[in-house]
Amino acid sequence: MAEKRKHKKQCAEDAQKLSSWQQWRQSTRKYLRRMRDESEEWLNSLKLWRGDIHLIEGMFGTGILSYFSFLRFLVTLNFFIFLLMFGFVMLPIIIAPHASGNITFSYCSVYKSDSRRGLVNYHKYITDLLSGEGFLEQTYLFYGFYNVDKIHFSHITYNLALAYLLVTIGYLFLSLIWIVKRSAAGFKHNLIQDEDCFQSFCNKIFAGWDFCITSENAAKLKKKTLLYELKTDLEDEKIKQKIAERTHKEKCRLYFIRLILNLFVIGVLAACFYCIYLATIFSQKAQMNEQKVNFIVDLIYEYLPSIVITFANFITPVLFSFIINFEDYSPAFEIRFTLLRCVFMRLTSIVVLLFSVWSRITKCKDGPCICGYNHDLYPCWETHVGQEMYKLTIFDFIVIVSVTIFVEFPRKLLLRYSSSALAKWMSQQEFSIPQNVLEIVYGQTICWIGTFYCPLLPAICTLKYFFIFYIKKVSLIKNCRPATRPFRASSSNFFFLGVLLIGLTLASLTYTSFLYRINCSQACGPFVNYNTSWGVVPATVYQLPEGVKKLLLALSSEAFAVSCFVLTCLAMFYVIALAGAHKRVINELRHQLEMVGLLILYNNKVLFSPQREGVNHVK
């Protein structure tokens, strides 16, 4: 502190020598910096769950902390998406004095309202709540309720259809920008360095200890984890040597085994996807069937796709981690590859579900569909897709809660009160970060896909993640311990956001295929006057003033797109070349440093060698 004071006095003296203009500049800069620090401090104090996350950090270290701060990020993201939807789509309808629907009645626009009338059993309400049908269907929850095209206020006309579409595109962009911004730091590291640097020994030794750990248990665990990690990495080196020494015959055998196992994995995946397809088709047929069998059986039919997906997502990771043992990869690659397969499984199952729903919607009994979709079975198909997404979300939440309550708590009780061999074998369960992250990325992908069809879904997801935070925190503290295999905070951040980006890409792809290819329903929703949902944009553009219209048409022309693409490619090549040049310069400088070091050593040896000493003495 005393040195800092001396330095400050020195700076103040130097400042006196400056002109008054520069002094003023310096003091303004200081003032602005202090303002910025204070506003950052204020923003930080608003962050959700600061105390809880600090506690988790102290107990478990930064690896698990990254999972919980990722969860917090998703809560904030979903909340902002909900605000967007609410502000631009729901609020105008709620305060609308006069809304115009303008539905041209045709056979495509017959829509039987499914709301219950008369005396209804109480369990119908529960079924409706869980499946989004009945009394929930004609509410703000689903697309079908927004039957207005334009809203006329006193001075302006609010084009709700356009707003609806633009908000959808808007929140996808918002998510993309936010995720990219958040992953920027980790990405930079990954690009600049070689791949191995994440696993480098220096990173593990010099940055290995989490100084924020406060609990004794966590410290012991951290030491164990570090020891395990170091031993594994040293093993890794030996394995790499072994791999390099493989004979030709061994290599052929190994590649053959890998081929067989990969085919097996593809076969398992295909079987799962086919099961999901069958389950969805069966569930759709059962829903269309007017005869209701039984309360519980009806619910099971409704939730059959979700059940099959969850079941597949439970078995496949176990299967993959079993298979990878035979494929003889290095341990680091094993983890990554298994994760990749699990990611693929999770996200593709949603695609398969949507594809099966699509095939039902676009298949009509006699030849091609007249309205562009099956208007008999699905007069309002968007609401139907929204209901499927709603059911997936609800079921996902139910599964997470049930697994915590009915699997983890009993397991812990079993471990505590019984000392049988079985209990020991089931030993304390680990909080596996990758699997938990895949769970919530899966939920977030469903939210992104479903928001267009179910505008209140972001709000539901915000609440869902809010509760999941507390459930997971309690479960972690009471039941599990962190995994022995460490998951580094930095690489985990990159992994989470990478998987999230894949989910976002998937959501965007489903939008483009659904909204472009299937005609929007003529019986409900804000797009009844257009052929497809996208149709509202050209219609609006043609109504704009001449200059703006020409500009927008030019921006969307092929010439502009091609030149944009060429420019982007050029910029990318330039940046890559620059990075390569920098790398070369760094290597040169390293060599120079080595040379200088060797030179100094040599000089020292020569100058202070015994013969020379004698000469110096004499002098």
Partner: protein, 189 residues
């Protein structure tokens, strides 16, 4: 001009805000926690020192294998006994705070890991460092071959001028490429 009076004066508060990376709340909290460690008669003394034995009872440092090194590095006492005044304590928290720069953190990390205080990290320092990280018990240590292999790997990655030790600039260079350092080298009260 330091103070450990029961209340921090406004001028000292703003001076500390300027000279450290800490915010006003953090300084006040640090003051509160520090005065709890003092004896009753020391509470009004200026420049009171808290011995190392008491500092390492703080929950944030209790489980840290480097707690003694941290105290010694930040201590300004002439007897080199690791005792800290309030200003030393603030320096400690400032170096470990969120807003401290990478250079500050890597500078102090280097001094903490330099167990023999000779200005470089040689094989003995690295061996002590690894043992601190993995634990002191016999079954928690690496075998001597593993240790040799590990140290040679570390030197290969960080020793640029190949003199067998890691000096400050090499250390800072390897830290700047380490993505976990900033998030793990952090103590928040």
């Amino acid at each position: 001009m330091g103070t450990t009076a029961s209340q921090l004066s406004k001028e000292s508060l703003s001076e500390y805000q300027e000279l450290t990376f800490l915010t006003k709340q953090e300084i006040l909290l640090a003051h509160k926690r520090f005065t709890e460690l003092l004896e009753k008669h020391e509470k009004d003394q200026i420049d009171a020192r808290v011995p190392m034995g008491k500092i390492i009872t703080l929950p944030e440092l209790k489980s840290n294998p480097f707690k003694e090194r941290i105290c010694r590095v930040f201590s300004t006492s002439e007897q080199k006994d690791g005792s800290l005044t309030f200003e030393d304590f603030l320096d400690l928290l400032s170096a470990f705070s969120d807003s401290a720069t990478l250079e500050i953190k890597s500078h102090y990390a280097f001094r903490i890991f330099d167990f023999d205080d000779d200005g470089t990290l040689d094989c003995a320092d690295l061996e002590k460092l690894v043992n601190c990280l993995t634990g002191e018990t016999n079954d928690a240590k690496l075998s001597s071959t593993e240790m040799k292999q590990l140290i040679s790997n570390i030197l290969e990655e960080s020793d640029i001028d190949k003199d067998g030790t890691v000096n400050l600039s090499e250390f800072q260079h390897v830290i700047s490429r380490s993505p976990d350092f900033v998030s793990s080298f952090k103590i928040v009260l």
